[in-house]
């Protein structure tokens, strides 16, 4: 039997599918066509099948089915809880970049207005400087600095929201490494499903793209960690065992991501053993250091 979007050909007899668009689209999604002895349809088949009379009609009917299927598919793909989180993380990272760039520019502008100004020997953090400029600066400079400040407030709010949402969407990964870093891992992988499919070795170096490709191309050493470096157990570990900690953590994260995608709820038994295992690496380290 040959099956196409408009009907089936069974023993030389065409059986049309009713003209209902959702029904036709749904049927196409379930058809399993083998390309082994595949015969592509010709639009005249649709005429023999009785679903249309002209070429224009055929294309119009097909387009309706395809539009319906595509719009439905897009809706389904965006319905995943991770789709919005992905956009939030990327917005957050972009905001950081923008805030840093603008702060630097505003401070240079400020220096021009105040020839004696210097940041040397002062411990003024960038955001405090921006605040000062915002209150004291005249005209466009003050207003720009004010905008940067507001952007900073929005950024803090967004960071909190990202963290909260990550705790809900990926509870296991978040429990191991914190909501923000978990969300970043997901964003780099391109979603929760892609992340859950990654091997631990890749998760370990996610975010170290330049270093890993430099390693593959040249003889430079391989990176030990990507953004999981932001986890305190990794960046607090002594240099010589940092790679080991990163590897164990990445291994547990790979499992956590799979749990998050396929179960979607926190699994306490796993989290307890995983935390213990990651801590154990730390204990070995301290013992090494003692003698």
């Amino acid at each position: 039997m040959r099956s196409y979007w408009f009907g089936d050909l069974d023993e030389g007899v065409w059986k049309p599918v009713p003209g209902d668009i959702p029904l036709r689209a749904g049927r196409v999604a379930t058809l399993r066509t083998s390309l082994e002895d595949f015969i592509p349809l010709s639009w005249e088949d649709a005429v023999s099948c009785g679903v249309c009379t002209t070429r224009t009609e055929y294309i119009a009917a097909l387009r309706e089915v395809c539009f319906f299927a595509a719009e439905q598919e897009i809706r389904e793909r965006y319905a995943g809880k991770d789709a919005e989180l992905l956009q939030m993380v990327r917005t957050l990272d972009e905001m950081d970049t923008v805030i840093n760039l603008l702060s630097e520019r505003v401070s240079e502008w400020h220096q021009v207005r105040h020839p004696t100004f210097s940041r040397k020997y002062r411990k003024t953090p960038a955001h405090v400087l921006v605040k000062n400029i915002a209150t004291k600066g005249r005209g466009a400079l003050g207003r720009t600095a004010g905008q940067i400040e507001q952007l900073g407030v929005a950024r803090t709010d967004l960071a909190r929201e990202v963290s909260d949402r990550a705790n809900r969407v990926m509870p296991n990964t978040s429990a191991l490494i914190g909501g923000l870093v978990a969300a970043r891992l997901m964003a780099i992988a391109g979603g929760l499903l892609p992340l859950s499919r990654l091997p631990a070795s890749v998760i370990q170096v996610l975010g170290a793209r330049t270093a890993i490709f430099a390693h593959l191309r040249t003889r430079s050493p391989s990176p030990k960690h990507g953004i999981i470096f932001q986890h305190r157990r990794v960046h607090n570990a002594p240099r010589e065992v940092r790679g080991k900690v990163a590897r164990v953590l990445a291994g547990k994260l790979a499992i956590a991501a799979k749990l998050d995608y396929f179960r979607g709820v926190a699994v306490p038994e796993f989290l307890d053993t995983a935390q213990a295992r990651i801590d154990a690496v730390g204990i070995v380290i301290t013992r090494k250091e003692e003698p």
Partner: protein, 210 residues
């Protein structure tokens, strides 16, 4: 192909992506479209009014809109939801585009929708581009043309683009296709090449043994 002076154009409703217009003709920019680049650096194949085209990797519908200006119908296959939204918008205004949301690696997904085509055009960022093209040749008529836009960097970042190019051409020849043209798309696109093939069949075997 329609050219005004040296400028490649297509005739159709403008304003799809802010393209420049020459009178009523839409300028087809070789820096934005790889197919346009092919018409500047090589010959490609003549797009004709009666042609049916299967377009894999339709993306935002930029090149698709130009192809649709020239041909009878374009089956545009795209997998990612984001560019698909743009493609649908383009297809709403151009009634000869059939937008299909499916994975070009799985032709069986859209086999019930696509008829036999005269031209198979492929521009996908996948490692197994030759294999995808060969499997999609099931939709190509005998004597039909395959244009494969090879993204060498998507195949294997560690291999030099030249090696990837040769390997792909060899794979296509092994599959029985007749390679008519193979060109790099420089200076318009870096590390991208175009391979133009003919699917052999009775009366279309040009005597060149694979």
């Amino acid at each position: 192909m329609i050219r005004i002076g040296d400028v490649l154009v297509s005739r159709g409703e403008g304003g799809v992506y802010g393209e420049r217009m020459l009178g009523s003709a839409r300028v087809w920019d070789p820096y934005r479209s790889k197919l346009a680049a092919l018409y500047y650096v090589g010959t490609g194949t003549e797009l004709a009014p009666g042609m049916k085209v299967l377009y894999l990797g339709a993306a935002n519908g930029t090149t698709v809109s130009h192809v649709a200006d020239y041909t009878e119908v374009v089956y545009a296959v795209e997998f990612a939801p984001h560019p698909m939204q743009d493609l649908l918008e383009v297809a709403r205004r151009r009634r000869n585009i059939v937008p299909i949301m499916a994975d070009a690696c799985r032709p069986e997904q859209y086999a019930p929708l696509v008829e036999t085509v005269d031209l198979l055009y492929q521009d996908v960022a996948q490692p197994d581009q030759a294999d995808i093209a060969i499997r999609n040749c099931a939709f190509l008529k005998e004597g039909g043309t395959l244009i494969l836009m090879l993204k060498t960097r998507s195949v294997d970042i560690r291999k030099t683009p030249g090696v990837v190019f040769e390997d792909t051409v060899a794979a296509l020849k092994t599959a029985g296709l007749i390679v008519r043209e193979q060109v790099w798309l420089a200076p318009y696109h870096q590390d991208h090449a175009a391979i133009v093939c003919t699917k052999p069949g009775p009366g279309y075997n040009t005597g060149e043994e694979p």
